[in-house]
Amino acid sequence: MNPSSIVAAKPNGSAVNGAELELSGLRRQFGGVAALDRVDLRIKPESLTVVVGPSGCGKSTLLRVLAGLDRPTEGRVMSDGVDVTLSPLGARDLAMVFQDYALFPHMTVAGNISFGLRLERRHDRRNGPSREFIDREVSRVAQLLNLESLLRRRPAQLSGGQRQRVALARAIVRQPRVLLLDEPMSALDVGLRATARTEILRIHRELRSTLVLVTHDQHEALTMATDLVVMDAGRVLQAGPPEDVYRRPANEFVARFVGSPAMNLRPTDAGSVGWRPTDGRLYPRGGEGDLVLTGVVERCEYTGSGQEVVCRDAHGTFTVVQQQGEEWVRPGDDVSVGVRQSALHRFDLFGDRIDG
């Protein structure tokens, strides 16, 4: 067997592939507050679905309901067409990586990784995994995640990145059909995040399980997702491929939340109009395009590949990104900005997108 492959035959020989999840009419009430409010969502099999939203938007609750850690007040969770809303924990063939990893501090790395398999063996001596199988699986996953030299350590002796890899290893060693990740990168240094992202993507690719990742970082969401879900105030605002969400935000909130720097919005009589800072073009004087604004450069932020220019006009500030090679403006310059019609997003008085 190719040791670098994540996919190994399960003891019963079935090949792993991700489950399809479907949430319908989900409500989760805490006291008088609804953390989830009539959520309907289909999570495609073998997708990497990223749920994104500001803190308190209900994304973590969504994940916990999926995992079975929380029971919905109303609504159903279906897995491959089977209602699992009330099925017990541990019977759902899913695994989860917690935000702070939740490693068992008194167990070694090997102990942490093998915990689930050992329980399986304990519960079913006859058909459960053999001791040899457990050892093999642990070393395979350890090799995959570069943990071989750490197997005997305890979590307290590991760095943040190492802990995250242990948590991942613990989650995937049983080859779950669904893998849930709760803000897996939030505890890592910036430098480690890229590596971690790569690792998660590789795991997703090879494991072929359905992966649901929750984050508040829209950049992470855009770069990793095959499917993106934007949430706010307990509701799903938009779900779809990241390009769709980015290009055609369903409402003002999504428009602002996804993409960096955030979309500029200007009120109009019928609602508002917005454009992405990358879609504007700066002119020292005068300008062209369907929308032209004038203002004064307030500050410039060099980003390496260009610079973000924050301008002020009578209605407030807006941002424009200048690419390398353009003639760079300076604070205090009077400028005008032109945006093409096709790059404009229009929203009605309720903030919903007006397609045109």
């Binding site: 995992a67 924990l89 541990g90 917690f98 939740a102 068992f104 915990f115 399986e120 049983r174």
Partner: protein, 278 residues
């Protein structure tokens, strides 16, 4: 004592030692004097001289030869260990249930525990005694141990906070890995609260070791009695042999004191962690 401690820190420091050493001496004095007296011969027992000179081991020899020290200590050990183990099992199970399985029950159950703590033992001892004797548990380990499990309330109050301090995610992670509740308790919660369990266990052990009223009622016969009863019965009709009594006192208290000194940090820590900063 305000400016002095900055002007003359040495004086303040000396004063500090003086007060604390004085308090320590005052608190430990009776036991200290017992220890010294236990080495005095019959002529010197009442001597005001602190030094047991000429020192003798006769008192210890007398106690060991005519007083069933081994049996008493053994009985007391079985009782104390039994009660400590029983209370820990009850408290850990309950703590787990109240934090993890049925958190809604927590306020009600903890109130019930607090009230139970306030019930004076003497006020309910007659029914306890009747029940124990009707069960045929008089003069038996069961009779000494089981009824004292009613005082598990303190252990519950102490341990439930520690269980609550175990990160919820660890417990959930275990459940997601397919652990049954009892396995989560055993593999995740227990190792996490082991120091607290040890501390509470030692506390219960010491309290039970020193229990007087219940063993007096249930097992006052010398062969079933505990050290406390044995000590209280030391005073025979022909007057008290204080040297021997002090030796017996030392022999039966010393193990506990040693256990305490070894574990005192832990015990105090457990109070601290239990939030028993009332």
């Amino acid at each position: 004592m305000h400016p002095t401690d900055r002007l003359r820190p040495a004086v303040a420091h000396a004063l500090w030692h003086l007060v604390l050493a004085g308090a320590s001496l005052a608190m430990a004095f009776p036991m200290l004097w017992s220890l010294l007296t236990s080495f005095k011969g019959p002529q010197d027992v009442f001597s005001p001289s602190p030094l047991p000179w000429p020192a003798t081991l006769d008192n210890y020899a007398a106690v060991l030869s005519s007083w069933p020290v081994g049996m008493l200590v053994g009985n007391t050990f079985i009782m104390s260990a039994g009660v400590a183990a029983g209370q820990l099992v009850i408290a850990v199970l309950a703590g787990f249930a109240l934090v993890v399985l049925a958190p809604r029950m927590r306020p009600a159950v903890l109130s019930a525990c607090t009230i139970a703590l306030a019930v004076p033992p003497q006020a309910i001892i007659i029914p306890q005694f009747l029940l124990t004797t009707r069960l045929g548990w008089q003069n038996s380990e069961l009779g000494l141990i089981v009824p004292q499990l009613g005082t598990s309330a303190l252990a519950v109050l102490l341990l439930v906070e520690h269980v609550a301090a175990v990160p919820a995610a660890q417990i959930e992670a275990a459940a997601l890995q397919g652990a049954r509740p009892i396995e989560t308790l055993w593999h995740v919660v227990l190792p996490a609260i082991r120091p607290a369990i040890l501390a509470v266990g030692i506390l219960v052990f010491i309290t039970t070791w020193n229990e007087y009223l219940w063993p007096l009622l249930i097992a006052p016969r010398s062969h079933d009695a505990t050290v406390q009863i044995g000590l209280a019965q030391f005073q025979g009709e022909g007057g008290t042999d204080y040297g021997a009594l002090m030796a017996a006192s030392v022999l039966t208290s010393l193990p506990i004191v040693v256990v305490y000194i070894i574990a005192s940090r832990r015990i105090i820590d457990s109070f601290i962690k239990a939030g028993l900063r009332p």
